[in-house]
């Protein structure tokens, strides 16, 4: 389950979010800014680089543009500002018939886990972010003579954090050979890395009991664990688009995109521990040592293909109509054969002059097959108008369908061998034994999500003041959603235990009754109406500066700001 979850998360990294202007965000995606024109157009299936030539002048998107995710709250004085940034721009100054655009996005962040070290009471001994450790002791006067006779000391340390990095570059160019037709090419590259160091796997514990009268330790315990989960994803791709005049006032556009994805996953865990009930006597044993290792690695690969077409119709000087349709599909699959787990435990107990030992060795190996896919289809109509210089409005009707499917097949086989030796060196000893237990399972997990929507967005942008424009948008729609999560037991064998005693006697047990979970299915089906609202402000602060606002409320520290330089 855990493995499958990790793979799903990694697969999600393959989807590259494209920057979206505050103007578009504030109007439900109906009224486009310069950036949106070539980043997505009305089609919304990916970059359309040919439309760069429609952006007049130059745009510079800096850290102030807040385009990485639009969530920066620059006016929040308490914000640490620890997040990523996106910088880029576009220009038509390279040549009269050409325009270039591009951006780079950078994110490098460590999120610390909040650690709580438990104490002797209900309250934690210490709480902190990242790493914490603490020791506490309890003294007891067992014979009531007024002096402490024993001490129980416990030490615990934990550390946990998640490191995330992301680097991406997109470069696009558009060319209009005749001033009417347009062609464009875009190239992109991205790399993501997430390394989790959870406190659940990274800790150390020491326990010590002492007899204070004799000054000796009467019990010790130690346990250490280290582990991490590393997920890396990357890819590169390209987009080709073009526009051409179909007739007077009617322009056709089309685009095609391809992205190659790769994902690697590496999880490791190593833990060891021991306890000793008689640490003061080196020759008398009542102690156990144990260790466990777990590792898993996987390499996945896949690709995204997509394309679409637009018809842009200038109905008159005021009214325009866009008819769009597109399709996009992504698949990611791979197989891992290096899943392995091993554990060994040695328990030694003195009984007189004999040293009894119980050794338990376990190993588990297996493989994981992953097959993830995602398809998106979108089509619709937008009608927009600019009746006056102070007013822009748009209406639309869009159909969208989005389907994701995540399937994993996990196969594992386990063998545990327990060996007991009573230490008396007796030949053919019926007290000694070796017990071997085996089992295996192959399970499939599959999650599918189908979302179909029909939306009728409407948006308006109007000038409140000469340099200040208000934006409103609403995207009412009908949404049908169906999610299924299923598990299936493909094959299995019960726990089979074979015991061979020292005198040659054999016993064999089969798990009885053998209960198997043959399959489960959870279906969530929903149909609903939605009407998300959007709003914002756009302020032309100067000839070369626009400032856009979102998240406007009575708490200014929650306002989100985007500033763009234009020439």
């Amino acid at each position: 389950m855990r493995v499958a979850l990790c793979l799903l998360l990694v697969a999600a990294l393959g989807a590259v979010a494209q920057p979206q202007s505050f103007r578009s965000r504030s109007t439900g995606g109906l009224i486009l800014d310069d950036l949106d024109l070539w980043m997505s157009s009305v089609l919304g299936m990916g970059i359309m680089p040919d439309r760069l030539v429609e952006v007049e002048g130059s745009r510079i998107y800096t850290g102030l543009s807040n385009l990485l995710d639009g969530e920066d709250t620059a006016l929040d004085g308490d914000s640490t500002g620890e997040t990523g940034f996106l910088i880029g721009g576009s220009t038509d100054l390279v040549a009269t018939d050409m325009a270039l655009g591009g951006y780079g996005e950078f994110y490098d962040h460590r999120i610390f886990e909040t650690i709580e070290i438990p104490g002797p009471g209900p309250d934690p001994l210490v709480t902190g972010d990242g790493a914490a450790e603490g020791t506490w002791s309890e003294y007891a006067d067992t014979d009531g003579d007024g002096t402490y006779d024993s001490r129980h000391t416990m030490y615990r340390s934990e550390e946990g954090w998640t490191d995330s990095t992301r680097t991406g570059f997109t470069l696009a160019g558009g060319w209009t050979p005749d001033g009417v037709s347009q062609v464009g090419l875009g190239l992109g590259y991205f790399k993501d890395k997430v390394e989790q160091t959870p406190s659940q796997l990274n800790y150390s514990t020491e326990v010590s009991d002492s007899n204070l009268v004799e000054g000796i330790e009467t019990y010790t315990l130690g346990e250490d664990s280290e582990g991490s989960e590393l997920r890396e994803g990357g890819g590169f791709g390209g987009a080709l688009s073009g526009s051409f005049r179909m007739s007077e006032g009617v322009t056709g556009g089309a685009m095609f995109t391809f992205i190659s994805h790769s994902v690697s996953l590496e999880n490791t865990m190593t833990a060891s521990g021991s306890w000793d009930s008689l640490p003061s006597e080196a020759e008398v044993y009542d102690q156990m040592t144990a260790s466990q290792t777990w590792s898993y690695g996987a390499d996945l690969g896949g690709s995204t293909f997509g394309g679409g077409a637009e018809i842009r119709w200038d109905l008159d000087d005021t009214w325009k109509m866009d008819l769009v349709g597109g399709y996009r599909t992504m698949s990611l699959d791979g197989t891992s054969d290096d899943y392995s787990m091993s554990m060994d435990t040695l328990y030694q107990e003195s009984f007189g002059s004999l040293l009894q030992t119980t050794q338990v060795d376990g190993s588990s190996t297996g493989s994981v097959e992953v097959d993830n896919s995602e398809t998106t289809a979108r089509g619709g109509l937008r009608i927009s108008a600019s009746p006056t210089d102070r007013l822009d409005l748009a209406l639309g009707g869009f159909f969208s369908s989005h389907t994701t499917s995540d399937e994993s097949i996990v196969a594992s086989s386990t063998e545990i061998v327990e060996t007991f030796d009573d230490g008396d060196q007796e030949a053919a000893d019926p007290d000694d034994y070796t017990a071997t237990s085996t089992m295996s399972t192959t399970e499939m997990e599959k999650t599918t999500l189908e979302t179909t929507g029909i939306r009728f967005p409407a948006a308006v942008e109007f000038a409140v003041l000469p340099r200040l424009r208000a934006r409103l948008g609403a995207s009412p729609g009908f949404v049908w959603e169906k999610e299924t999560q299923s598990t299936s037991l493909l094959s299995a064998s019960p726990v089979q235990t074979h015991i061979v005693y020292g005198d040659g006697t054999e016993q064999e047990f089969t798990e009885d009754p053998w209960v198997t979970s043959d399959g489960t299915l959870v279906t969530t089906e929903d149909s609903r109406t939605e009407i998300p609202f959007h709003y914002g402000l756009g302020f032309r602060a100067a000839e070369n500066l626009t400032v856009d606002l979102m998240g406007i409320s009575d708490r200014m520290n929650q306002w989100r700001v985007s500033a763009t330089l234009l020439f």
Partner: protein
């Protein structure tokens, strides 16, 4: 009149379609339906003849019309066997009566439900037979071969040849039972007074083959350094061996007698030294110790624990005495340490502090360094010695120092 077959056929078709369209349970259980065991070696459970039933080895003529004795040998296994191995190639059937012809096997069959193999053959009157299921031939469904000597290991032939005998009339069957050691002397104990004590071993399930008692088949060793002491085998009868030390045995000395596991009975069956009914390739020699009593010049009688008592909470006293005689002893204080005096409760070992040896030299007080949980078991190990270095004799047989056997155990 023509029967209306069109309508029923259409209805049947609709019914079939309805069944085909019914929403099936999507979760199909698919466990491993193959043989789920298989690691355990199979064994012959019981055998017999068709004429007399299971448990009998007597062959009779079931078809008087035909020449010879027509009967079948029945072999029942304790596990389902692989039918492909239940064939003539997996067995040998031979006459063991001198001059008798080999039997003619007519048919070998296997009945899985009863796990029974049947060997139909024509035998000869007044003849005994040996059936051998050769090692590695017959296997269970998982391919694990028979393990007739019950050591859970595939040893190969002859160790894992499963042998069964049958007979007709008064013919004598071959002896397949391995010989074992019965009573022996001197007994496994200390305090023996007679320095001329003979070594006597009685055998069961013989008769023994004297020719297998070669040089070195019987040894007398001085236990302390394993040096060999000369002995002479006076006689070997089918049921008994008698030997005498070449010289008088020394007082206060411990001796070890070693009888080789390679001695055999007249049928060639090797010694079953551990009396478990089976002979393994690594069958151990038959070994025991005895110890001569002390005289005025020796002090080799070991100490033992006479009593453990607890008068004060969290402490107990251990008292020692000489084994067999009960005489006082002087213990070696340096061996009275927590490593040799242990205390165990339900939580495991209890840390101990061992006090000074009492002036009498035979008593020591121990202190528990934590509160015990439940019943407390005291263990005094063979690491404890008296002043002469004699290790503890926990089981009181006059032979001290045997790990495990001579640890003294008691509860408070």
């Amino acid at each position: 009149m023509r029967k209306p077959i069109t309508i029923p056929a259409a209805l049947a078709l609709i019914a079939l379609l309805a069944l085909a369209c019914a929403e099936d349970n999507p979760f199909t259980a698919d466990p491993d339906a193959d043989w789920q065991g298989g690691a355990t070696h199979p064994h012959v459970d019981v055998w017999g003849t068709a004429s007399e039933g299971l448990g009998s080895s007597v062959l009779n003529d079931l078809d008087p019309v035909e020449d010879g004795i027509q009967d079948a040998i029945l072999v029942v296994f304790d596990q389902p066997m692989a039918p492909a191995t239940m064939v003539e190639a997996s067995l040998e059937l031979a006459a063991t009566t001198a001059g008798a012809p080999a039997p003619q096997i007519d048919e070998v069959s296997y009945y899985p439900a009863a796990r029974r193999m049947e060997i139909h053959a024509t035998f000869t009157r007044e003849t005994a037979y040996l059936l051998t299921l050769t090692a590695g031939g017959a296997t269970n469904l998982a391919g694990v071969p028979l393990d007739p000597n019950f050591n859970a290991v595939s040893d190969g032939s002859p160790w894992d040849d499963a042998r069964l005998t049958f007979h007709n009339g008064a013919a004598e069957e071959m002896d397949l039972t391995p010989p074992r050691v019965g009573p022996f002397s001197p007994p496994e104990q200390g305090g023996l007074e007679d320095p001329d004590v003979p070594i006597q071993i009685v055998f069961e399930d013989g008769p023994m083959d004297a020719s297998t008692f070669g040089a070195g088949s019987l040894k007398l060793l001085r236990t302390e350094d394993s040096t060999e002491v000369g002995i002479t085998i006076d006689s070997i009868t089918p049921t008994q061996l008698l030997a005498t030390p070449d010289n008088r045995l020394e007082f206060g000395t411990r001796y070890t007698v070693v009888l080789s596991s390679q001695v055999a009975d007249s049928a060639g069956n090797l010694l079953d030294s551990d009396r478990d009914g089976h002979v393994w390739p690594d069958e151990q020699d038959f070994v025991w110790d005895f110890q001569m009593a002390d005289d005025s010049t020796t002090n080799s009688t070991p100490p033992t624990v006479s009593r453990v008592s607890s008068e004060v909470p969290l402490s107990f006293d251990v008292e020692f005495e000489e084994s067999l005689t009960g005489d006082p002893v002087n213990m070696d204080a340096s061996t009275l340490v927590p490593a040799n005096i242990q205390c165990v409760d339900s939580a495991g070992q209890i840390p101990l502090e061992v006090g000074e040896l009492a002036p009498s030299g035979d008593q020591v007080t121990c202190y528990m360094l934590r509160q015990p949980q439940g019943e407390v078991t005291v263990i005094v190990t063979v690491g404890v010695t008296d002043g002469y270095g004699n290790p503890l004799d926990g089981n009181g047989n006059g032979l001290g120092g045997e790990p495990g056997l001579d640890d003294w155990t008691g509860t408070l």
